[in-house]
């Protein structure tokens, strides 16, 4: 491939974001070049309806360059034919993004190997694309849709045939109180040969809602996208809007955000390690994990007024100065550290538990890399993917931590990656609490500039999390794209469970701890 053929229409660098605009026909080649030459990672891909401003749809692909704190954002305006060359054949990580764009904007990825519906339910009216600015739905269509009986675009499950293969459909309604997801196993006896997960049952129109309610209220909305990552979502959203406005945050706000992110990570990781015990039936480990998590959430409630750390973030900084409550946090952490150590010792000595974890649900490094797997799942498979280290933000450049890599990619590796990460969080929380900051909590944000765009990101407990915002000519949100880690990790799960036995699936699933709601905006 030759880079000379590509004509760059415009390029613009702001902070660590480098926007490269190319012609539609060069989009694929540019992406592939960046992907291959810079060993870049596709972080997210999305479209925006800019017809009011520029008369066309625009697609964006965000890459993060390896070993550099730099994002390259390739974008192209699409003409009236609403199609572009799919990059999925070269960059498999793009497969869901392109299908999502097709559902929400009606932009066709030409050459996508499996361009069926992803986000929209099959009863959703055909040819109706909700994120288009001129989208509307009639009452009769709404009725048909909400009843969910008519298949406007049928969903075709992969059919595996052969001797001894039988299908096990599971969900979308489950025995436990969890979110809806349909899993179709093609099993040979107890061994899983193929798994297809059909998600996206509860589309909530979050991105559309972001456009309507304005930047200010978006903070509260972002806190409610995914319960267990409430803070990471709002931190990433606020960051995007603050960068859009060019606001400089006071150090104290950065410290409080970092602190809250680590507190959120800690309660999640400890709870998740406990949940993995529920997958193996080790009731004592489960109870212990739930107990520690509860203590941490009560700490959250004491210092911020919210168990999920909601209401802390605001555009320009934070509203709640819980650095003052360092004593409570420190003493609770002392207690948690002891309990956590006991729990890990107990788990490490439970041969029956470890035996279930080891060699179960192996996700190979190659598959993790090509599907763009992120967070714990990536680090457990030997991929060094950690936004805190790759793109230091908030206070992370000043803190001491390691990204803990595991090699094997099995359930055990994911448990240990979580455990190491949790210990890191504890030491980071202590480090922040020992630092001194001035007392200003938030920068003033007067006005959102028109026609600007910016990225915001965070390392949530599940992995990298992105928000991209663009303002319209009046300084209102034109497009808010959010990409949660689960959106990257769900497609990897069928690969991890291949060859495992059906009763081990819940354990594999728990080890990834994926959110249904978080990727179904």
């Amino acid at each position: 491939m030759n880079t000379q053929e590509i004509r760059i229409l415009s390029s613009q660098t702001r902070l660590n974001e480098e926007y490269i605009e190319v012609a539609k026909d060069d989009f694929r080649l540019t992406c592939v070049n960046i992907f291959r030459k810079h060993n870049a990672l596709l972080r997210l891909m999305f479209a925006a309806d800019e017809r009011a401003e520029t008369g066309c749809f625009r697609i964006y692909a965000v890459f993060s360059v390896k070993d550099e704190d730099r994002f390259v954002i390739v974008n192209s305006a699409l003409g009236t034919d609403c199609s572009y060359q799919s990059i999925t054949p070269d960059i498999p990580a793009a497969h869901w993004y392109e299908r999502e764009i097709k559902d929400m904007f009606g932009l066709m990825p030409i050459g996508h190997p499996s361009p069926g519906r992803l986000v929209l339910h099959e009863s959703f009216p055909a040819g109706s694309h909700p994120l288009r600015k001129d989208w509307s739905i009639s009452d009769s269509e709404l009725k048909v849709w909400s009843e969910g009986v008519v298949e406007n675009e049928p969903y075709n499950f992969m059919k595996v045939e052969g001797e001894g293969i039988f299908e096990i459909p599971v969900g979308p309604v489950h025995a436990g109180i969890i979110e809806p997801g349909h899993f179709r196993f093609s099993a040979i006896g107890e061994t899983i040969f193929f798994l297809e997960a059909k998600l996206f049952y509860t589309h909530k129109g979050t991105e559309k809602l972001f456009e309507k309610i304005g930047f200010e209220k978006g903070v509260q909305l972002s806190e409610r996208v995914s319960g267990t990552s409430s803070f990471a979502h709002s931190a990433a959203y606020c960051m995007a809007v603050e960068r859009l406005c060019g606001a400089e945050l006071p150090e104290r706000a950065l410290a409080i955000r970092t602190l809250a992110l680590e507190m959120e990570r800690l309660y999640n990781h400890i709870g998740d390690i406990g949940n993995m015990c529920a997958g193996t039936g080790l009731a004592v480990g489960y109870a212990k994990g739930a107990l520690l998590k509860e203590e941490l959430m009560q700490l959250n409630a004491r210092v911020t007024g919210s168990r999920y750390l909601r209401g802390v973030n605001t555009l320009g900084g934070v509203k709640c100065d819980f650095l003052q409550k360092a004593e409570d946090i420190n003493s609770t952490l002392d207690h948690i550290t002891i309990g956590y150590k006991q729990m890990m010792d107990m788990l490490q000595q439970s041969v029956s538990h470890l035996e279930r974890l080891e060699t179960t649900g192996v996700l190979s490094k190659d598959i993790a890399k090509s599907l763009g797997v992120t967070g714990i799942a990536a680090r457990a498979s030997g991929l060094n993917d950690d936004m805190r280290a790759d793109h230091p933000h908030l206070l992370y450049h000043a803190l001491h931590f390691e990204s803990n890599l595991m090699a094997k990619g099995d359930v055990y590796a994911r448990m240990m990656a979580r455990a190491a990460d949790a210990e890191c969080s504890i030491s980071m929380i202590r480090e922040i609490l020992s630092m001194r900051f001035d007392s200003r909590l938030a920068a003033d944000i007067h006005k959102v500039p028109a026609m600007q765009q910016a990225l915001g990101y965070a390392e949530s407990p599940r992995g990298s999390l992105f928000y991209w915002v663009r303002s319209d000519s009046e300084g209102r949100p034109l497009r808010v794209k959010l990409r949660s880690p689960s959106f990257c990790n769900w497609p990897a799960m069928p690969f991890a469970v291949h060859g495992n036995i059906v009763p081990d699936f819940p354990l594999c699933n728990k080890s990834f701890n994926l959110s249904y709601s978080g990727c179904d905006m």
Partner: protein, 305 residues
């Protein structure tokens, strides 16, 4: 009066279940429901409406009765606190195991009957497990039966000496593993799980509701206590009354309660201290137990005790 001892099993088995649940909760650092909870559950279920799948045949409707009555019949031939039941065909172990087998067979059929994936999975797994458990259970009982010179449970209980032979101990350990497997407990099955894909016993019951579910659950509680009782009769029968006198019966009942309590603690401890085994590794646990029972038998034959 001795003929009515099965009522002890029938009426007190939910209590035993409640006690085991309470013990487990305490071991996990939880408060747990009260020990009477299984009774309340049964009463609630008996009052509830039933939802039955349109694809269910008569097997689905008959199975709860067959399962319940098979446990009931089995309970009737097992001596609980008295072996003095003159004229009554008390306790042939071979009959007992086959009566229980009938219940199991119908439960597996019912799991398959509605055609759901989880029911089918549960039935298939239950049958896989029972292939390994049944012979192991038989052998361990035979080891004791040969020593007593009879397959009649009353005889075995009567002739048993307090002194234990190595063969007895081996057979007892194999039998305990069989009890764990038969009652659907960890490490074989997880009775508390909501994860449909991992279920064995619960999987077969998923389609049941209301009265039928109550019968199935009650049968399960009763079967659990019945198996404890068989273990007590065969391996720990000391103190069981042979005369039927009131004073003897009272001592016997007290001892029986203590022994059941020991089994409850044992079950709760095993269940709280281990994770469930990977399904395909059940064969090593159950196969190991089979070897134990085999050794018990061989040891008796070769050592004569």
């Amino acid at each position: 009066m001795e003929h009515l001892q099965f009522l002890i099993i029938l009426l007190l088995s939910p209590l035993v279940q409640g006690v085991i649940k309470k013990l487990k909760a305490l071991m996990q650092g939880r408060r747990g429901p009260g020990i009477m909870q299984p009774y309340f559950d049964l009463i609630r279920l008996f009052k509830k409406e039933m939802v039955i799948s349109e694809t269910a045949s008569w097997i689905f409707r008959a199975a709860p009765y067959v399962v319940f009555s098979s446990v009931l019949c089995a309970a009737m031939i097992v001596p609980v606190i008295s072996v003095n039941a003159d004229g009554w065909v008390m306790g042939d172990v071979i009959a007992l195991i086959y009566i229980l087998g009938l219940g199991r067979f119908f439960m597996a059929l019912a799991g398959l009957d509605t055609g759901t994936a989880f029911g089918g999975e549960g039935s298939s797994r239950e049958m896989t497990v029972s292939i390994m458990v049944e012979p192991m259970m038989m052998l361990s009982i035979f080891a004791a039966a040969i020593a007593a010179g009879s397959t009649n449970l009353s005889r075995i209980a009567e002739t048993h000496a307090i002194v234990y032979s190595p063969s007895h101990l081996l057979a007892l350990s194999a039998f305990i593993i069989a009890v764990i497997a038969e009652t659907g407990r960890i490490p074989v099955d997880n009775p508390d799980t909501h994860l449909e894909l991992t279920m064995i016993h619960e999987g077969m019951l998923l389609e049941y509701s209301g009265r039928y579910l109550a019968l199935m659950e009650w049968a399960h509680y009763a079967k659990q206590m019945l198996l404890f009782t068989i273990a007590i009769d065969i391996f720990l029968p000391f103190g069981i009354t042979k005369t039927g006198a009131a004073a003897d019966a009272a001592i016997s009942a007290g001892l029986y309660a203590a022994k059941i309590a020991v089994f409850s603690v044992l079950m709760a401890t095993v269940e709280s201290s281990r994770a469930k085994l990977r399904f395909f590794q059940l064969s090593s646990l159950l196969g190991g137990a089979f070897v134990l029972s085999m050794l018990a038998l061989l040891m008796y034959i070769m050592m004569g005790r």
